[in-house]
Each structure stands twice: as C-alpha cells, then as structure tokens.
Amino acid sequence: MTHAPWTRRALAAAAGTGLALSLAACSDAGAEDGEVLVGLITKTETNPFFVKMKEGAEEAADEHGVTLQSFSGDYDGDNESQVQAVENLIAAGADGILITPNDSEAIVPALDQARAAGIMVIALDTPTEPQDAVDATFATDNFLAGEYIGQWAAAHFEAEGVDPRVAMLDLNPNQIAVDVARDQGFLQGLGVDIADPGQIGDEDDDRIVGHDVTEGAEEGGRTAMENLLQRDPDINLVYTINEPAAAGAYEALNAAGVAEDVVIVSVDGGCPGVENVGSGILGATSMQFPLDMAAQGVDAVVEYAASGETPEPTEGLDFVNTGVELITDQPMDGVESQDSAWGLDNCWG
C-alpha cells in the first residue's frame, strides 16, 4: 500500500474535525439547573412539514427563554434513532418531549421510561399506539381535513350540475393511519358510503374510477394520474393525499390536455400548494398548522414545568386538535373556507 498517503491523512483529519465538532455540540447542550429543557423529535429532516415544525418549536422556545434540543429519525420509519433521542433526552434531564413517532408502537417502551423519569411526553401529528402512552396528542384532524375537501367538491359538482368521476391518488399500499383518514374523510364528505372507515378501497360506488399510489411525491402523482386517465379519460375530480402529488397529477392532466376540465383537491396547506390554489391548479386544499402544533407543544411543556399540569384533549376528540382550514378561491355555500391570500399569510403557520 504505497499509494496516496495524503488521502488517508485527509480522512483522518476529517474524522478528527468531525469528532471535535460533535464534542463541541454536546458541551453546550443539556439543561442547567432550573432551566427548562424541551426535546423535539421529528420523523425526518427531509420533509418540509417537519422543517416547519422545528421552526415553530425554535420560535416558541426563544419566546419562553427555554432550551430546545432537536432530533430526528434518519428516514421515514426509523425507530432506532428516535429511541436513542429519547434516551439522550432522559439523560439530559428534559422536562418534556415532543415526538412525531416513526413507529407508533415500537417507540412506546422508550416513552414509558421517559414518563417514569417524570418527563411529560406529547405526540405531535402522529398518535402513538396505544394513544395513552403519551400525556397528550397534538394533531391535525386528518379525517376532517379530508371531509372538508370532499364537501367542497360535492358542492362544486352540484353547482355545475355534473356527476363526479373520481380518481383517488393515495400515499402507498400500507394503509397507514393518515392516508386512510384523509381518503375516507374525503369520500364521506363527497357523499360516498365508505363501508369500513379503516379501509381504503373497499367502497363500491361507481363514481370512483380507481385508486393509485403516489408516495406523496410529484413523480408518483404524475405516473398514477397518467395511468388512471388511460383507464378512464372521463375523470373530472382528483383527490390527492398531499400537494406534491397534486402538482404531479396536474402535470399529467395538462399533458393530456384536460387540465381545464378536471378539479384537483388536496390536503396539506404548504406554501407551494396554496400558490397552486391561487393559480387555479388546485380547486381546494385543507391546511394544517405544523408550526402552531410545535409551538403549542412547547407552551404545554413550559406550563408543565411550572405547574405540573398536562393538556386536556379537544372536546369530543381524543387528541388536541391543532386546527384545519379549507383554502379555496371558489367558496361554496355551506362550506366554510378561506381564500388563497389568507392561505399565503398562514401557510403551515
């Protein structure tokens, strides 16, 4: 091995720097006596939804003058990293942990340990299983989010005097809770008999042309829409799991020259999605509030550190509803909504 000793030296130097940096990062973390420490653990660093969540938590922590430590999984579904994050927060003496679990069941033992150590745990966005493994859940009512766009679409098509032919662009084949709730909420709002509310695709209403999956991304949305259009060119209403999938679906409709005749509805409320409502690409979208969600979580931890009180769920629900708003520029009678200008001011607020 005579070749290129510089590469090995460079690698060693890089490794050394990395270690030094991480040590430096550790030394100024951790709660000093009397100071409130809030831990935030999101699913991934990659999803803008969680990026917003982190922003909200940081702002709230600054406001209260408390310390925030953020962690996240490495990929969607990464439980291991989240367990480590919980352990680190227990060791650091956190007062409260806000977590969006990657695995609703597998995270529970770690959360039990945290609560046994006197830490309040709040699930953000995604509930744990069982739900009472945490002190409270702050989340979007995803069924309601779906129901809003369904009601809006029903009113829209009634006003036009046309029967809807519906394409359903879901997330993936796993039937995860968020996907099921939005899909079923939408169909309920549209006036379809949803059969088992825990099951996507068991309806036999002939207004539904078909389901396909998108992985919640543009490319998936486009491919799924292309295939469903090929199956039935008369589709005039498209439900999409989120706004990236909706943007992809629009590209497919546009390429097929039918974008004008088809209404797309979605859920999310991200700023690009709201812009798409403004430019007429989306008929309506349901907005969620991740920034608020995290800020309310931090508030709750501060409250808990001061008084020992945990938050009460919203009336009639088993979680704290952090709100959903319907955003559309074509308001329908009997369906409450905000326009896209309001949406742009509040996107993912």
Partner: protein
C-alpha cells in the same frame, strides 16, 4: 442439464470427458440451442421478456396498445431508464452505485435553484448541474480507485452525503418549474408523432443509450471497460490503465445521472428535494432485468432500456387492468428473481 465437467465421480450415467468429440456424442437439444443462443446474444432475453409482457398486457388491459399509452410508458420510463444507463456502466465494472438517486436530486436542485433563485441563465444553470453530476461521480470514483474502498461502501456513504447537501441547498423546499428558465423545462416538451406523444426527455434517454452503446461497443474505451469488469488483474496485465478507466466510468455515470435530473425537472415541472430518493434500487432493477450481470463484464447497454421498459410496461399494464399496487410490486419482484435465475442459467451454457 447434466453435462457438467466439474465432477469426476462416476455415476450411473457416466458422461465422457468433455472433449470436442464428446460434444458431438449427444446432439444439442432445443433447450441447449436456446441457452447457447441467449449466451451469444445478450439482449435476446430481455427483448423476449419485453415482447411477452407487451403481448400479454395488450390482451389483458384495454387501451394498452393505444399509441398514447405506448408513448406514456416511454415517458414514465425516461428518468429511471437514464439513471439505469449510468448504473449499467458501473455494474459492468463489477461495481454498484447506491448514490444514483441522491446525485440526481442534488443536480436537479442545483439546476433549479441557480435558475429560479440566483438568476443564472438557463443554459449555464444546466451546465453547472451537469458538472455537478460529474463531480459527484468523480468523488465516488476517487474513493474507489485511490482509497480502494468497495463501491458498495463508497456509494452507501456518498448517498447520505449528496442527499444532505441536497437538503441543505434546497432548504427542503421545492423549486417550481414556472420560476425556472424554459431551457430546464425543455425535456418535458412534447413531440407528436403519429398519435404518440413523445417528450424530449424520453428521446434524450434513447439518444444517451445510443451514444453509450457506441462508446461501449465501438471504441477502445468500451473494450477496456468490459475487460476491467471481467477480470481486473488480467486487464491490468494486458496494459489497460484500470484506475483511469474506472474513474472515467464513474464520471460518465455521474454525468448521465445529471441528464436524468434534467429529464426529471421536465417531467414533474419542478425540482423537488424529495424526488427520486428511492430510484437507486429501481435503477438496479432495470439493469438486472436488462441482462447485465451483477458479477461484472457481461451485458449490453440496450438491454438496460429494455429492462426499464419491462418494469414500466408491467406497472402501467397492471394499473390499466385495475390491479392493486401491492401486486404490482409483487410482480416486479418476481420478474427480478426470474431474470437473475435466467442469467445464471445462461452462464452455464455449453460452449
């Protein structure tokens, strides 16, 4: 298939030693002939499978053979097909590239943001994006040739590095196509030919396939790539500058991924930091279905496009037939295993 010469132990049906004469003792059966033919003509397998799936779905799925649908499959295959072309080069040298998806996403974000947020003219943004892909490829190549790390490990690491850079540079936000230069969106433009709606992106994939096929089969560089993949030591002894060849393969692959990024921008009319994250596995699937051996040195670039098309045809056809996505994944999995089994069987062909 009992004509193995690996065992000298006499059996109840002893075979004569494998000499030229012995070959003539038992006339080759139809299966033997097929096996030898497939061995000699590497694209015959994927072409056969592709034809078979097309025939099957034209019977099962209504609208399948419509020109619009055929061009649709080409469009749907363009991104993965292009990535798989780069991946083929690396697999031919007995490597594997897990960082394809990350390199593509990074390049698309570089192109998109330079154009939309920094006001860089479209052609220049495109060039910088392409250079970025090449640089990523070279980064992998240097680690493989200089630090002598296995490609699997190198690209496993660089997958994370490139993806993190992508998130940092994009701030995890999607760049909308309407904010970009039309040059970047050109690959999404449509050329209508006899009812087929071909995007420039899908034509670009075919063009790159042609270019790479020429380079691999008609140039010295191509012969050296095959030689390096088949037996690195032998190639080195025969005077091939193995490290240079490997480095060039990684650089060219990176460049091809960057073209994939350009095609992706046209297809989804935006540059999304989340797009294509899982495309590394899909590109390997296409290469394997295309008959390129994961053990290096054997395969044709045209097979890869066919491999990508086989997946595209299956997914599109099953979807038109109303089959649940669950079973689409199942079918693709079965195809991959069948393809590798076929490859193994072909390798045992009697000469």
């Amino acid at each position: 298939m009992t004509t193995s010469n690996t065992s000298r132990v006499p059996t109840s049906d002893p075979q004569p030693p494998p000499t030229v004469l012995a070959e003539d003792v038992r006339p080759p059966t139809l299966v033997d002939r097929a096996q030898r033919l497939l061995h000699a003509q590497a694209t015959l397998g994927p072409a056969g499978v592709l034809l078979l799936t097309i025939v099957a779905f034209s019977v099962i799925a209504p609208n399948f053979l419509a020109p619009t649908n055929i061009s649709l499959i080409l469009q749907q295959t363009a991104v993965i097909g292009t990535l798989a072309l780069g991946q083929t080069l690396i697999i031919l040298t007995m490597g594997i590239d897990l960082s394809v998806g990350s390199i593509m996403v990074l390049c698309s974000i570089v192109m998109g943001r330079l154009s939309a947020d920094f006001g860089v003219p479209g052609p220049l943004a495109l060039l910088v994006g392409l250079a970025c892909g090449m640089a990523c490829g070279l980064f992998n190549g240097v680690l493989v040739t200089r630090v002598k790390l296995p490609p699997f490990i190198v690209t496993l690491g660089s997958l994370n590095i490139f993806f993190a850079l992508n998130l940092w540079f994009s701030r995890s936000e999607t760049v909308r196509g309407t904010d970009m230069s039309p040059v970047l969106m050109w690959t999404g433009q449509v050329l209508t030919v006899g009812g087929m709606r071909l995007t420039y992106g899908s034509l670009l994939m075919l063009a790159i396939c042609g270019l790479l096929a020429y380079a691999l089969h008609r140039t010295r560089w191509g012969r050296h790539v095959y030689a390096t993949g088949d037996d690195r030591e032998a190639a080195r002894l025969a005077g091939v500058r193995v490290n240079r060849i490997l480095l060039s393969v990684y650089a060219v692959a990176g460049l091809v991924y960057a073209v994939g990024a350009w095609i992706l921008i046209g297809r989804i009319a935006s540059a999304s930091p989340q797009a294509g994250v899982m495309d590394n596995l899909d590109s390997i699937t296409a290469v394997v279905l295309g008959g390129t051996s994961l053990f290096g040195g054997r395969g044709l670039i045209i097979g890869t496009v066919m491999g990508a098309l086989i997946v595209g045809v299956c997914r599109n056809g099953l979807s038109l037939a109303g089959v649940d996505v669950l079973w689409q994944n199942f079918a693709v999995g079965v195809l991959v295993i069948l393809a590798v089994s076929l490859d193994q069987w072909i390798r045992k062909a009697r000469r």
